[in-house]
């Protein structure tokens, strides 16, 4: 079972919801797919094992290269250039499509592994914690996300903390999800960004539920939209200064008796949608 947590807007409360659900669901696994800004692990004290993630990039054998420039012309990402009569690779632009190797008529290109970041794994109480980090300057973390998703344990509940936005990395994160939770905040900005992720979950035909975080007197902004799109609201997390402070110190607010009930209620609602 995979449950993905997403929100178009940054700072809406995705990670708050994800880490606290993990904390309260027995034996559940936490998978942080926000590999550009991985903050989820700050909530779980653990020792982490790291594993490098590689992609394939071309390596040119200059003894065989005749400088015909077919590979340079083929590369749509401009990762290969004609550098003073020699083909040169810019690994940071390479998408690992393998095209250069295919077009080379002189067998001068092989593919070698290039690290783009790593994934880490740790234990917190009875939970498995996974996450990854993309190296600064690398364009795409899709390979890291796909490796992370493959760590999901089919026998258990896996909570997937998605990246912000609605780009390809979010698509990769939710592709196998059985249920998606959208997290929004009651402002017109929150609504605008909720519309974007809702479009995405609709495209993928996902079963979804909505949580309003920082709930206040303006919840109707989000509720009205949910009504017109027939989205069930599975929970509210009211704005509270104490909660905000605990969370900003990277503490699990569901360990606090005042805030635990919000998350228990959300879990009860999820149970009506999927088997936990």
């Amino acid at each position: 079972m995979q449950i993905a947590i997403l929100s178009g807007k940054g700072g809406a409360g995705k990670t708050l919801v994800a880490v606290n659900l993990v904390n309260l669901i027995n034996l559940s696994t936490y998978i942080d797919c926000d590999v550009e800004e991985p903050n989820g692990k700050l909530y779980f004290s653990s020792e982490y094992n790291k594993k490098d993630i590689n992609v394939l990039v071309p390596k040119i054998n200059y003894k065989k290269c005749t400088h015909c420039n077919k590979c340079v012309d083929f590369c749509r990402y401009n990762a290969l250039i004609d550098f003073l009569g020699k083909v040169k690779l810019l690994p940071s632009l390479c998408h690992s499509c393998g095209g250069c190797k295919l077009v080379c008529e002189f067998d001068a290109i092989t593919e070698v592994k290039e690290p783009i970041g790593y994934i880490y794994q740790g234990d917190y109480k009875y939970h498995q914690i996974y996450g990854g980090e993309l190296k600064i300057g690398k364009e795409s973390g899709i390979e890291i996300i796909s490796q992370l998703i493959s760590k999901a344990d089919k026998e258990k509940i896996n909570i997937i903390d998605c990246p912000p936005g609605n780009g390809c990395s979010v698509m990769e994160s939710i592709e196998q999800a059985d249920y998606c939770i959208l997290v929004s905040e009651p402002t017109i900005f929150g609504l605008e960004n909720l519309k974007l992720v809702h479009e995405l979950t609709t495209l993928y035909n996902k079963n979804i539920g909505l949580i309003i975080n920082k709930a206040n007197d303006y919840n109707n902004i989000i509720e009205d939209f949910a009504k017109t799109k027939d989205i069930s609201i599975i929970g509210y997390i009211p704005f509270d200064k104490e909660l905000a402070k605990l969370n900003s110190n990277q503490q699990l607010v569901s360990d606090n008796n005042k805030f635990k009930p919000y998350f228990i209620k959300i879990i009860e609602q999820i149970k009506q949608e999927v088997d936990l």
Binding site: Y77, N78, A79, I81, D82, F83, L84, L90, S92, L93
Partner: protein
């Protein structure tokens, strides 16, 4: 010596562009013949690696000096391996930047 600048329009009276890889034109000036020529940037709308293709272009035309307000990491990575020297442009037209360079009035970037 060939001096290159990214420019907003064609010709020596054009202002220097804010970007290198996404400049509309490149102005190349040869100090020997005292002649300059504008080239349209064919890689302006590349989604990936516009700066890299610019570096390739500059090498192809045997540039010695590049005058630009800034340079992206990838283009820089390539040019640092060459003998091209990079100077910081000012908010003037191409011709004046060239004169300033020839009179030693430009700051060297790399």
């Amino acid at each position: 010596m060939i001096i290159a600048l990214p420019t907003k329009e064609s010709g020596e009276k054009a202002f220097v562009s804010e970007n290198l890889g996404r400049a509309n034109y490149f102005y190349l000036y040869d100090t020997k013949t005292k002649e300059g020529k504008s080239f349209k940037n064919n890689f302006l709308n590349e989604l990936h690696g516009a700066g890299v293709k610019t570096a390739e272009f500059l090498l192809k035309y045997s540039t010695d000096i590049l005058i630009t307000p800034r340079i992206g990491e990838k283009a820089l990575e390539i040019l640092l391996e060459t003998d091209i020297n990079i100077y910081k442009s000012t908010e003037k037209i191409a011709r004046e930047n060239i004169n300033d360079f020839l009179n030693d009035n430009l700051e060297k970037l790399y």
